[in-house]
């Protein structure tokens, strides 16, 4: 009996082999990007270890929220694409205010005014079409025209209830064109369900030959494939924001700050472009096979602080309204 | 020197209810002593205190010179360490083990080697006239047979004292008579010290060397059957032992 207890306590008291401190990064970056990043971080920071937790953006945010509420999250650095979540956490004073080195030139619309977070990369929402169902000329040119009757039964989107990037897209489009746009989509029998992978699937099977999707989902397909082609909407791509923030904790924040710095360094920014996201620090080349950032930014709707606050407040209403119109 | 000693042994419940009045008793080695009395007189409680299944709140109980219970000095030897054998009124033969396993159990607990166990169990089964029935399950045995198994189990570990708690009350008259003779015979054969609890005066008088009469938690009289019959302590005893 006594032996069992002793063994139990020994097990609990076992110290880890590696004595260095750990910086935890919770992120929605793809696994292959992380695989690329890990050795680079190991080299850059011999004094501490960096460990990753990877899941979809929604899962990561939910996990951090739950852990925070439960007593404190293990995560130190967060990188995922729900900007509104970061805004809210900033408001709750749970983020560490820090402007990473090299972010002086980053556009203001990608920064939080109190430096509680900074946008580290820009995924963009574009459209795709299946070349087996239409030619390049026949393909649509803008988001707006998808509400026209000629596109009945041809369009697929994701759902803002399931996907953060889809939510952002709906938020921007709703601001630009109002809810009547979505009523038009509804009349066109648009399928609005799931995330970006569902859209890809639907376009590939021609269930709906046109869809809106993240640029990175398409550029990740084998470059030789010709079946699915990209449309850069004439009324502007929707800019998504991949945000980096640091959780506020007692004690030393230097290591976490150093990691944040790395992601805005030329080395870090280039790695992010390997994931087909645009860099936010000027001077870094655009992702392979993607148009230059300047072109993208020309027509895209801008992020403004008012927009952020507005959408933050109306989040639930937007989702409800969308559900009411599109999912009845 | 007494083999089993009760020195000022008594039991009081926390609320103040007295179950057994303080009594003294010394039992010699090889002696067959019966506790006799009506139900609720405290005889079973006294037996269970000796076994360690209940705790005396007062007095000292000793077996073969070892003090097994002394509440004042905070000594209490748990039942599994007292080396007493016990036969219960309801036999308490384990239904999920066969006859052999039941009788072998105490030896298994003492970590005896397999051959030794086999040897001793079979010998003991022969003593209680249950040889050949090792594989049977209790559900396949009659009451009398189960009783014998219980007896064999109590004896097999060569206990310092054998305790029996109204073992025959569930048997029919004929069987009871036979068992009385058998138990007494085995006891004398093995020179066992036995403490036997019963409410049946015939059992007590025919089997015992001495009888302890109890009533209402008090020890009323101790003596050989002849002594008590000749000089009963009071009317109650006279009536009881008639």
């Amino acid at each position: 009996m006594a032996f069992l207890l002793l063994a139990f306590f020994c097990l609990c008291g076992c110290t880890a082999k590696d004595e260095r401190p750990v910086v935890w990064i919770y992120t929605s970056l793809y696994k292959d990007t992380i695989a690329e990043i890990q050795p680079l971080l190991n080299k850059a920071f011999p004094n501490f270890r960096v460990q990753f937790f990877q899941a979809g953006s929604e899962e990561v945010s939910a996990k951090v929220s739950a852990e925070e509420l439960a007593g404190g999250t293990r995560a130190d650095v967060l990188i995922f694409s729900d900007r509104f979540w970061f805004e809210e956490m900033a408001g709750l004073k749970r983020l560490h205010a820090y402007a990473p080195k090299n972010t002086e030139k980053v556009d203001d619309m990608f920064k939080n005014k109190d430096s509680f977070y900074t946008v580290v990369s820009l995924p963009v929402m574009v459209m795709i079409y299946n070349t087996e169902a239409m030619t390049a000329d026949q393909a649509p040119k803008t988001f707006k025209e998808m509400a026209l009757p000629k596109w009945k039964g041809q369009f697929a989107t994701g759902s803002p209830l399931a996907s953060g990037t889809n939510f952002t897209t709906v938020a921007f489009l709703q601001k630009a064109y109002g809810w009547s746009y979505f009523e038009g989509l509804r009349h066109n029998d648009t399928i609005a369900e799931g995330g970006n992978s569902s859209v890809l699937r639907r376009v590939q099977t021609k269930e709906r030959p046109v869809g809106w999707i993240l640029l990175e989902n398409i550029l990740r397909l084998p470059p030789e494939q010709k079946k699915i082609q990209i449309i850069y909407p004439g009324d502007g791509v929707v800019l998504q924001t991949n945000v980096l923030g640091i959780i506020k904790k007692k004690g030393e924040m230097k290591n976490a700050e150093a990691v944040a710095d790395w992601f805005f360094s030329p080395e870090g920014q280039v790695v992010l472009t390997h994931s087909y996201m645009y860099p936010t620090v000027p001077g870094v080349p655009a992702p392979q096979r993607a148009p230059p950032l300047a072109d993208i930014l020309k027509k895209a709707q801008k992020w403004t602080p008012q927009f952020v606050q507005e959408i933050l407040k109306d989040r639930e209403d937007i989702k409800e309204e969308f559900a009411r119109i599109m999912l009845q | 020197m007494s083999y089993v000693g009760f020195k000022k042994v008594g039991k009081v419940f926390p609320g103040g209810i007295r179950v057994v009045d303080q009594f003294n008793l010394e039992i010699s080695e090889g002696e067959f002593v019966s506790f006799l009395g009506p139900s609720g007189c405290g005889k079973t409680t006294s037996l269970r205190m000796l076994a360690g299944l209940e705790k005396n709140t007062e007095g000292v109980i000793s077996i073969a010179g070892d003090i097994v219970s002394d509440p004042e000095r905070h000594i209490f030897v748990p039942p599994e360490k007292r080396r007493v054998g016990m036969v219960f009124q309801s036999y308490a033969v384990w239904p999920h083990m066969n006859v052999f396993e039941n009788v072998a159990y105490p030896l298994k607990m003492a970590n005896r080697p397999k051959d030794e166990i086999r040897d001793r169990v079979l010998k003991m089964l022969a003593v209680v006239e249950m040889q050949g029935l090792e594989e049977r399950k209790p559900s396949q045995l009659s009451g009398g047979q189960q009783q014998r198994v219980a007896l064999a189990r109590g004896l097999v570990m060569q206990p310092r004292v054998l305790l029996l708690d109204e073992p025959l009350s569930n048997l029919d008259a004929k069987l009871r008579e036979k068992m009385r003779r058998d138990i007494r015979q085995i006891q004398q054969q093995l020179k066992l010290t036995v403490v036997y609890v019963t409410h049946d005066q015939i059992e007590a008088t025919t089997m015992s060397d001495r009888i302890v009469i109890m009533r209402g938690g008090k020890l009323i009289q101790v003596g050989t059957p002849t002594e008590i019959k000749a000089k009963p302590a009071d009317d109650f005893v006279a009536d009881f032992i008639r």
Partner: protein, 564 residues
């Protein structure tokens, strides 16, 4: 050896350590999460100060208030309907010469073991306004399951079984001479029922009715599958939506609403305690010889027809429905050419998620059942075979999670176990371990009750004989208690395994990528219908078959003591 040494010896004995650990574990699992839930919501202000913000936010929008209202109304209606259906049925089955009464008892109680959301799937297939089979048969779109009445109907068609079982067992226990005296006094059967039987049944029935109320308020599957598409939100689905927001404010709102749901549960349970306390009067009559049955005479066939029709509507029709759905190529199309085995093949064999879901469910339910049984062995011992102070509380501690709505329990567990639990465990958020733990805690009382029953049946003498034979407490436990408890423990294992296998309400809040279970997969398949639909029906049918089979197994193991 002085007193201190002896006390230490005693305390450190194998028996004490094991038992104390068991009791502490029970407390930690069954009580602490709720305390934490409450504290975290109340003290959710910045820097941990007292704050009612979560409640304000949760109820800032109408939707939450409406949800509360909906829940209360739905629960009331379902309770009433269940009573109306079950009580006359019980009377027919136990007091009249209805044909096949004995069989009916078993058959009509089966819905108790089937998760209601499976019924939802079946009835959606049968009665959805666009492709519902019944609508196709009878033409038009008369039936619309996506309605409040649809909710009431589906929930009642399952929960009536609970009232039925309670009523039947109460009827069985009534001293029949009380009713016979009424009959001899000239009262016709229905008066006997109203004047004598009903009053006698009232305490037990009130208890059962309130528990149906609670079960409805706590249900998630049916509200999610039928209510949400109809934009009818209930507290459980509202909590789910809040939690899905993924933000701290969302979690706080979910938590606030959870505590409200818990308050509802608490009120109901207190009422149940109060009402069933008066049970001691009259009912248990010693010599229950079978009461003389009332002859239905000319109503015999009518009654039999009625009961059969009831059974067909509540059981046969839905089962048939999901069967047809599972072999239909296009949902709702009633032609022979529409039949296909493709859906079965696709769902069970080609979909890797289904395989993983089954594996997960079996592992989760299995480990929860095993853990529950192990804990119940020790706790049952404390309850029945010791006289330790406070042992009465153990049973109540275990029934706390059982009586709590699964949504609330799951949420409490998220809050307790996502950080480090009492400083010991790592974050269990989004792990299989947390789900298994939730199942264990929720259904622990099933295992504990069977263990307690079994211990009570075993005479102490058997253990005393072992101790006198030289076995210490641990060896007695291993060689005597456990083998004798084995059949009951097996039954207890299955009683936990069964509901855990198809659980949805808690799992939906605790699940994550890679953590799919049978229940969540059915839900996902139904909500985001895979091309062609039918997948949910395939899995539902599998669940029904599993449940019926396991139930028969339990009945067999326990020789009819447990099981329907």
């Amino acid at each position: 050896m002085n007193r201190f040494q002896q006390k230490c010896r005693q305390l450190l004995s194998g028996q004490s350590i094991i038992l104390v650990l068991a009791a502490v574990l029970l407390f930690a699992l069954c009580v602490v999460p709720f305390i934490e839930l409450f504290l975290k919501i109340i003290f959710s202000g910045v820097d941990g100060e007292f704050s009612l913000e979560p409640y304000r936010h949760a109820f800032a929008r109408h939707s939450a208030l409406i949800a509360v209202g909906n829940t209360l109304v739905l629960s009331t209606l379902v309770t009433l309907l269940s009573l109306i259906l079950a009580v006359p049925l019980a009377w027919l089955l136990s007091r009249t010469d209805l044909l096949g009464a004995k069989r009916w008892r078993s058959w009509l109680s089966i819905p108790f073991a089937i998760p209601p959301f499976i019924g939802a799937i079946a009835w959606i297939f049968l009665a959805n306004p666009s492709t519902g089979l019944l609508n196709k048969i009878f033409g038009g779109s008369f039936f619309n399951i996506y309605s409040f009445s649809g909710l009431v109907f589906v929930e009642s068609s399952f929960l009536y079984a609970f009232v039925l079982m309670t009523a039947l067992s109460s009827f069985d226990r009534i001293d029949s001479s009380l009713e016979e005296a009424a009959r001899l006094s000239g009262a016709p059967p229905w008066r006997v029922f109203c004047d004598v039987s009903l009053p006698l049944l009232r305490p037990a029935l009130s208890g059962a009715a309130l528990l149906v109320f609670l079960a409805t308020a706590a249900s998630f599957g049916v509200p999610a599958l039928i209510g949400s598409p109809a934009r009818i939100y209930l507290m459980t689905t509202q909590i789910y939506m809040f939690q899905k927001m993924g933000s701290i404010s969302g979690l706080l709102r979910a938590g606030a609403l959870s505590t409200c749901l818990m308050a509802v549960a608490f009120v109901v349970l207190t009422l149940v305690q109060y009402l069933t306390r008066k049970q001691s009067l009259q009912t248990v009559g010693g010599k229950t010889a079978r009461p003389s049955l009332i002859e239905l005479g000319k109503y015999r066939h009518f009654a039999f027809g009625g009961v059969t029709l009831f059974w067909i509507i509540t059981f046969i029709l839905p089962v048939l429905g999901i069967f047809v759905s599972s072999v239909s190529h296009v949902q709702g199309d009633l032609q022979w050419s529409n039949l296909t085995g493709q859906t079965w093949i696709r769902t069970l064999l080609q979909n890797e998620e289904t395989g993983r879901a089954f594996l997960n469910s079996f592992i989760l339910a299995g480990s929860a059942a095993t853990g529950a049984v192990l804990l119940s062995i020790l706790v049952g011992y404390i309850q029945v075979k010791t006289r330790l102070p406070g042992r009465g509380l153990l049973g109540s501690m275990a029934s706390l999670p059982y009586a709590t709505p699964g949504t609330v329990l799951a949420f409490a567990m998220i809050l307790s176990f996502s950080g480090s639990f009492l400083g010991i465990l790592p974050s269990l958020y989004n792990t299989l371990a947390l789900i298994a733990l939730a199942y264990l805690i929720k259904y622990l009382s099933f295992a504990m009750n069977t263990a307690k029953d079994a211990y009570a049946q075993i005479d102490d003498v058997l253990a005393e004989a072992a101790r006198v034979s030289g076995a210490n407490w641990t060896r007695t436990m291993l060689t005597i208690w456990l083998p004798l408890l084995a059949p009951a423990l097996a039954a207890g294992w299955f009683l936990v395994f069964m509901p855990a296998l198809s659980e949805l309400t808690m799992t939906i809040l605790l699940t994550g990528p890679g953590l799919e279970t049978i229940g969540t997969t059915i839900y996902q398949l139904q909500e985001y219908s895979d091309a062609g639909g039918g997948g949910a029906s395939v899995l539902s049918l599998v669940v029904v078959i599993l449940v019926v089979t396991i139930n028969l197994l339990v009945k067999w193991i326990s020789r009819g003591r447990y099981g329907l």
